[in-house]
C-alpha cells in the first residue's frame, strides 16, 4: 500500500482518517466553547457526539482503502489507454521500425507456435481412450528384438494372466470394399471381440462385436471407423445393413466415434478375427498386435511376472516354436508417440532459439531507437514522470509490438503448420491434427508477453535510468550514451551470436548427414527410370500361370514402347515399396538348422532388370530368356549374400535351397548363375542386406500370394523423363496401374523418410524356412507393407515340415528390427498405406487375355 501511496502522492489512509476526525472534533469543540461550555466539557461533548470513534475509524479506513484502490485502477487504466494510444501513434510515425520489429517477432512467434501446435497434437494432447495410462502394448521379443505375437502365444497369455482386465489382439489387413460405388482397398484390423473394450472405446452407433461373433463362420460382421463411414457412406444410418468386404456380404454392426480415428490413416474398419482351433494352436507365426488393459490395482511387475510364468510353460511345451519366447510390455502412450516426443521437443527448442534471437534483435532495435528518444524521455521526467512510470510506458510499447507480432505470427503459424505437416515423414501420429486452436492461441499470447518483457525490459530500464540521470542536459542533445548501454548492447549481440552459432552448428550437422546420405552409392542408378505399380486382382488372377504370363506380357509391352531403352518388372523396387525376405539354406550347409538360415530379400524379376536399374553383374551372368520354367532353376545372389553364404568360395554353380518345397519334401534347390552388385534397398543409410533374384518365369507359385500379385514396372528411357510416360497404354482395361512416377521422385520421397528414421534389421525364424516369405503375405495376412516405412513384416507360410500343409494363405508375419515393433503399427501402418495407395496417376493397362 505504501508503495502505491508514494506513487500516487496520497497520504496514508490511516493518517487521513485520523486527521480528518481530529479536525472535526476540534471544530465541534470550538463551537461548543463559543456557546459557553468549558473547554473540557466542550471536548467531552464533541467526543460524545462523534460516537464510537474506533468503529468510525475502522469503517473509514476500509472505505478509504477501497476508494484508493479503485482510483488507482482507474488511473492505471487511464494511463494505459494513453500509453497504448501514444505507442500506436509512435509506431505509425515510424512504420519502418514498426514493420521490422513486428515482422521479426512474428516470424519467431509464428514458428514457435507452429511447432508447439505439433508438439501439442502429437505429444501433449491426451489420447482419446479410456484411462490410456492403464493401456499397454504386449509383445514378444525374439533375440532381444521386439516382435509381433503368435496366435498360440496370445491365447495362452490371455488365459494365463489376471493382472490384465483383458488382452486384445489385432491383425492388420487390407480389405477390398466393393459395394455400390467403386472398389476400394482400405486398411483394417481383424480383432478379437474384446478389442474395443480393452482399448476403452465405445461405438458412436450400433455395437461392437460379441464373443459369439468372434467365431469362424459367424464373423461376417464389421465395425466401421467414423472416417470410413463419413467418407464412403456419407454418414447415413448404416448399422444393420450389409456391405461387401472381400467379396462377401458383412453386416455393419457398429460405427466408431471420430475420436477413435487416432491417426488420419489408421484402420478404417474392423472385423472379428475368429481364430480357428487350428490357429489357436499355432505358436510360430507371429503377426498379432496385442493390447492389454492393466487391471485396477495391478502393477506392471505383476503383469510381467504372470506373462513370464506363461512363457516358461510355453518354452517348455513348444521348444521348437516358442523356445525363445519372452513377453514384453510397453506403455501404449510411449508406443504411440514413440521417439517423436524427443524429436519434436528438440525442434521446439530450435525454434525457441530462433525466437530468442528475434527478441534480441528487437531489443537492439528498441535500444537504438531509445537513443533517439532521449529527449522525449527527459522531458517526461522533467514533467514529473517517475522511473516506474517511464518503464511502464516503454514496456507498453514493447507489449503492443509483441501482441501485434503475435497476431501476425498466428497467421504465419497457419502456413507453417501446413508446411510442417507436409514435410514431415509419414507415420507421425496425430500430427495432421495440429492446428491453431485455443491452446496454441494461449501459447502464442504467453510467449508474446514473455517476448515483450524479454526485449522491452532492458531497454526500458536503461532509458529510464539514463534519462533521470542526465536529465535535460544531455537529453537535449538527443544522446544518452553510457558505458552501461554499450555493455548491454554488446552482451545482447554476444548472446545473439552464440544462439545463432548453436543453430548453425545444429543445422550444419543436419545438412552434413543429409549430404552424406545423398553421396552414398545406392548400388543402382535411379536417374532416367520410370516406375509404376501394377496390382492384379486375386479374383481373376488366382491362377499363378495367368499372373506370370500377364506380367511377362506387360514387361514385353513396355519394352517395345517408344523411348524405352530397357524395361523390366520386379516384385520389389529398391528404395521403393514392396519387398519381402526368405530364409535361404545352402546345399553345403547340410541338415536344416535355424541358425544356418540366411534371411535374404527376394526380388522376382524379368531379365532386363539389371540393365534397366544399372545394377552391375559382378560375376557370372544375368538371367536370359532361356531361363524357362521347367528348365534349370536359377538364382542370382547379391555380393553380400555371396560373401555370407560362400565365404571365400566361388558362388557360381553352388546350389541354394529356398522358397518352395520340392516334390520329395526336400527344399527346392536353385543354382547360382550370377552375382549382382549390392543394392541399398532400405535406403542410403542402411547397409545392403543379402538379396537374391529369381526369374519371373521360375517364380514359385506361392510367391504370388506373398507379393499380393503386385509388381513394379521399371523402365529406363532414352532421354530424361519428366512426366509419367505412357505407363497407361492403349486401351482401358481392368488392371490398375498406380504410382506412376520417376524413380528419382520415388526415392527422394523415401529418402526423406529415411533421414528421420532408424534403419531396420530383419530377422526371421521359422521351421517352415523355405516358405519364409514376406510382407505382401497372402490372403489372410496383411498385404503390402513397405520397407521404407520402417515397418517390416517377415512372413512365413504356415506349411512346415512337421505339420500338414494348410493353404499358403496363412502366411505369418513376424516383424523384427531395431525399429519399434509392429505392435502398435496400426498407427504406423499409415506409411505402409502411403506407400501402397498414394496413387499419383491411375490409369489402366490392357489386360492380357
Amino acid at each position: 500500500m505504501r508503495f502505491f501511496n508514494r506513487v500516487f502522492w496520497r497520504p496514508d489512509v490511516d493518517d487521513e482518517v485520523d486527521e480528518e476526525l481530529a479536525f472535526h472534533v476540534e471544530m465541534r469543540t470550538r463551537e461548543l466553547v463559543a456557546r459557553g461550555l468549558t473547554v473540557d466539557a466542550a471536548r467531552r461533548e464533541a467526543e460524545r457526539r462523534l460516537g464510537d470513534r474506533a468503529r468510525i475509524r475502522t469503517t473509514l479506513r476500509r472505505l478509504g482503502t477501497g476508494r484508493n484502490r479503485h482510483m488507482q485502477r482507474a488511473q492505471y487504466l487511464n494511463e494505459l489507454r494513453q500509453d497504448i494510444g501514444f505507442t500506436i501513434r509512435q509506431l505509425l510515425k515510424n512504420p519502418g521500425f514498426a514493420a521490422i520489429a513486428v515482422l521479426t517477432l512474428a516470424l519467431g512467434i509464428g514458428g514457435t507456435t507452429a511447432i508447439f501446435s505439433a508438439v501439442y497434437a502429437v505429444v501433449l494432447r491426451p489420447i482419446p481412450l479410456f484411462e490410456p495410462e492403464r493401456l499397454f502394448v504386449v509383445g514378444e521379443t525374439f533375440q532381444g528384438l521386439p516382435s509381433s505375437m503368435s496366435v498360440g502365444n496370445y491365447v495362452d497369455a490371455n488365459a494365463g494372466v489376471t493382472a490384465f482386465e483383458g488382452l486384445a489382439a489385432e491383425q492388420f489387413a487390407n480389405f477390398n470394399l466393393s459395394d455400390a460405388g467403386s472398389a476400394e482397398r482400405v486398411i483394417g484390423g481383424r480383432v478379437t471381440a474384446n478389442y474395443f473394450d480393452v482399448l476403452g472405446a465405445r461405438p458412436l452407433a450400433g455395437r461392437v462385436f460379441t464373443p459369439d461373433e468372434d467365431q469362424p463362420g459367424r464373423d461376417l460382421v464389421v465395425v466401421l471407423s467414423h472416417r470410413l463411414w463419413v467418407r464412403r457412406f456419407g454418414g447415413r444410418p448404416i448399422v444393420g445393413t450389409s456391405i461387401r468386404i472381400n467379396g462377401r456380404n458383412s453386416v455393419v454392426s457398429g460405427v466408431m466415434t471420430a475420436a477413435f480415428d487416432l491417426t488420419s490413416d489408421g484402420e478404417e474398419l474392423w472385423v472379428p478375427i475368429a481364430f480357428t482351433a487350428e490357429r489357436k494352436a499355432m505358436h510360430d507365426e507371429h503377426y498379432l498386435s496385442v493390447y492389454g488393459r492393466l487391471a485396477r490395482g495391478a502393477s506392471i511387475q505383476q503383469a510381467l511376472q504372470q506373462l513370464e510364468a506363461v512363457a516358461v510353460r510355453l518354452r517348455h511345451d513348444f521348444p521348437r516354436d516358442a523356445g525363445e519366447l519372452r513377453y514384453s510390455m510397453q506403455s501404449f502412450r510411449e508406443q504411440f508417440v514413440g521417439s517423436y516426443r524427443s524429436r519434436l521437443f528438440i525442434l521446439l527448442g530450435a525454434v525457441g532459439l530462433v525466437l530468442l534471437i528475434a527478441c534480441g534483435n528487437v531489443a537492439n532495435l528498441l535500444l537504438a531507437r531509445g537513443a533517439a528518444r532521449g529527449r522525449e524521455i527527459a522531458v517526461r521526467t522533467a514533467l514529473g514522470a517517475g522511473r516506474g512510470r517511464i518503464v511502464r510506458q516503454l514496456l507498453t510499447e514493447s507489449t503492443v509490438l509483441a501482441l501485434t507480432a503475435a497476431a501476425a505470427g498466428l497467421v504465419l503459424a497457419q502456413w507453417f503448420i501446413t508446411g510442417v505437416v507436409a514435410a514431415s515423414p509419414p507415420g507421425v501420429p496425430r500430427l495432421e491434427q495440429a492446428r491453431v486452436d485455443p491452446v496454441a492461441l494461449g501459447f502464442a499470447l504467453a510467449i508474446a508477453i514473455a517476448c515483450s518483457i524479454l526485449c522491452g525490459l532492458a531497454p526500458a530500464l536503461r532509458l529510464a535510468r539514463s534519462a533521470i540521470q542526465t536529465g535535460l542536459r544531455e537529453g537535449g542533445r538527443g544522446s544518452t550514451r553510457g558505458g552501461f548501454r554499450d555493455r548491454l548492447r554488446a552482451s545482447l549481440i554476444a548472446a545473439e551470436v552464440a544462439l545463432s552459432l548453436l543453430l548453425l552448428v545444429g543445422a550444419g550437422l543436419l545438412i552434413r548427414s543429409a549430404l552424406a546420405l545423398q553421396q552414398v552409392n545406392p548400388g543402382f542408378d535411379p536417374h532416367g527410370v520410370l516406375s509404376a505399380r501394377i496390382a492384379l486382382p486375386q479374383t481373376s488372377y488366382g491362377d499363378p500361370a495367368r499372373a506370370r504370363d500377364t506380367f511377362q506380357r506387360l514387361a514385353d509391352d513396355v519394352a517395345h514402347a517408344p523411348g524405352v531403352a530397357h524395361s523390366a518388372v520386379t516384385s520389389y523396387a529398391a528404395m521403393g515399396p514392396g519387398g519381402g525376405s526368405n530364409g535361404l539354406l545352402t546345399e553345403d550347409a547340410g541338415a536344416f538348422d535355424l541358425r544356418k538360415l540366411i534371411q535374404s530379400q527376394l526380388r522376382i524379376i524379368t531379365p532386363d532388370f539389371f540393365a534397366a536399374m544399372r545394377i552391375p553383374i559382378v560375376k557370372g551372368r544375368a538371367f536370359t530368356a532361356d531361363d524357362r520354367r521347367g528348365g534349370l532353376n536359377v538364382m542370382i545372389v547379391s555380393q553380400t549374400l555371396a560373401a555370407r553364404a560362400f565365404p571365400g568360395l566361388n558362388p557360381i554353380g553352388k546350389r541354394i535351397g529356398c522358397c518352395e518345397q520340392g516334390a520329395d519334401g526336400t527344399p527346392s534347390y536353385k543354382v547360382v548363375v550370377g552375382v549382382a552388385g549390392d543394392v541399398r534397398s532400405r535406403g542410403p543409410a542402411t547397409p545392403p542386406n543379402p538379396e537374391f533374384y529369381l526369374p519371373l518365369t521360375q517364380a514359385p507359385d506361392a510367391a504370388w500370394d506373398w507379393i499380393g500379385r503386385t509388381m513394379y514396372i521399371v523402365a529406363r528411357t532414352d532421354g530424361h523423363p519428366q512426366a509419367p510416360p505412357r505407363c497407361a497404354p492403349r486401351s482401358p482395361g481392368s488392371i490398375r496401374t498406380s504410382r506412376c512416377s520417376t524413380y528419382d521422385r520415388w526415392i527422394s520421397a523415401s529418402r526423406r523418410r529415411w533421414r528421420r528414421r532408424g534403419s531396420t534389421r530383419s530377422c526371421c525364424r521359422s521351421s517352415a524356412w523355405w516358405d519364409c516369405c514376406s510382407p505382401p503375405a497372402a490372403s489372410t495376412a496383411s498385404s503390402r507393407t513397405s520397407s521404407a516405412s520402417g515397418l517390416r513384416r517377415l512372413a512365413s507360410a504356415s506349411r512346415s515340415a512337421h505339420r500338414p500343409a494348410p493353404s499358403y494363405g496363412s502366411c505369418c508375419a513376424r516383424r523384427c528390427g531395431r525399429s519399434r515393433s509392429v505392435l502398435v503399427s496400426a498407427w504406423r501402418l499409415r506409411s505402409a498405406r502411403a506407400a501402397c495407395s498414394a496413387v499419383s496417376c491411375s490409369t489402366s493397362v490392357r489386360p492380357t487375355p
Binding site: 497520504p11 480528518e20 476526525l21 479536525f23 472535526h24 462523534l50 468510525i56 473509514l60 472505505l63 476508494r67
Partner: protein, 113 residues
C-alpha cells in the same frame, strides 16, 4: 453510476447524499462545515451524525461524485476539503428531480383533503 433513490429505508441514506451534494454545490467545504450547513439550513431538524457523514463522503468520493483535497481551514488549520465533480453535479440534479417527484407524490396522498 447513476442512482435513483430507493423508496424504502434507504431513503434517508440517499437523502443524506443529496443533502451533501447540495451543500457542496456552492463551493468546497470540509466535513464539519457540511454538517453545520445542513443542520443550520434545516433548522437543526436534521442532525447529521458523524458516523454517517464521513462514510457517506468516502463512498461518494469513490463514486467520483466529489473529490477531496487538503487545504487550510478558515482558522488556519490543515483540513480536508470536498468539492463537487461534474459527475456529482449531474447526480445532484438527478436526485433533486427525483426528490421533487417523490415528495410531490407523497404530498398528494398525505395532504389530500
Amino acid at each position: 453510476m447513476d442512482r435513483t433513490l430507493p423508496p424504502s429505508t434507504e431513503l434517508l441514506h440517499g437523502t443524506l447524499d443529496a443533502l451533501i451534494l447540495k451543500t457542496l454545490a456552492s463551493g468546497r467545504r470540509h466535513g464539519y462545515a457540511i454538517a453545520q450547513v445542513i443542520e443550520e439550513a434545516t433548522g437543526e431538524a436534521i442532525v447529521v451524525e458523524e458516523g454517517s457523514l464521513y462514510p457517506a463522503l468516502y463512498r461518494m468520493e469513490r463514486k467520483e461524485w466529489i473529490e477531496a483535497e487538503w487545504g487550510v481551514s478558515e482558522l488556519g488549520r490543515r483540513a480536508k476539503f470536498y468539492r463537487l465533480t461534474p459527475r456529482g453535479r449531474r447526480q445532484l440534479a438527478a436526485q433533486t428531480a427525483e426528490w421533487a417527484r417523490f415528495s410531490a407524490a407523497i404530498s398528494r396522498v398525505l395532504l389530500a383533503t
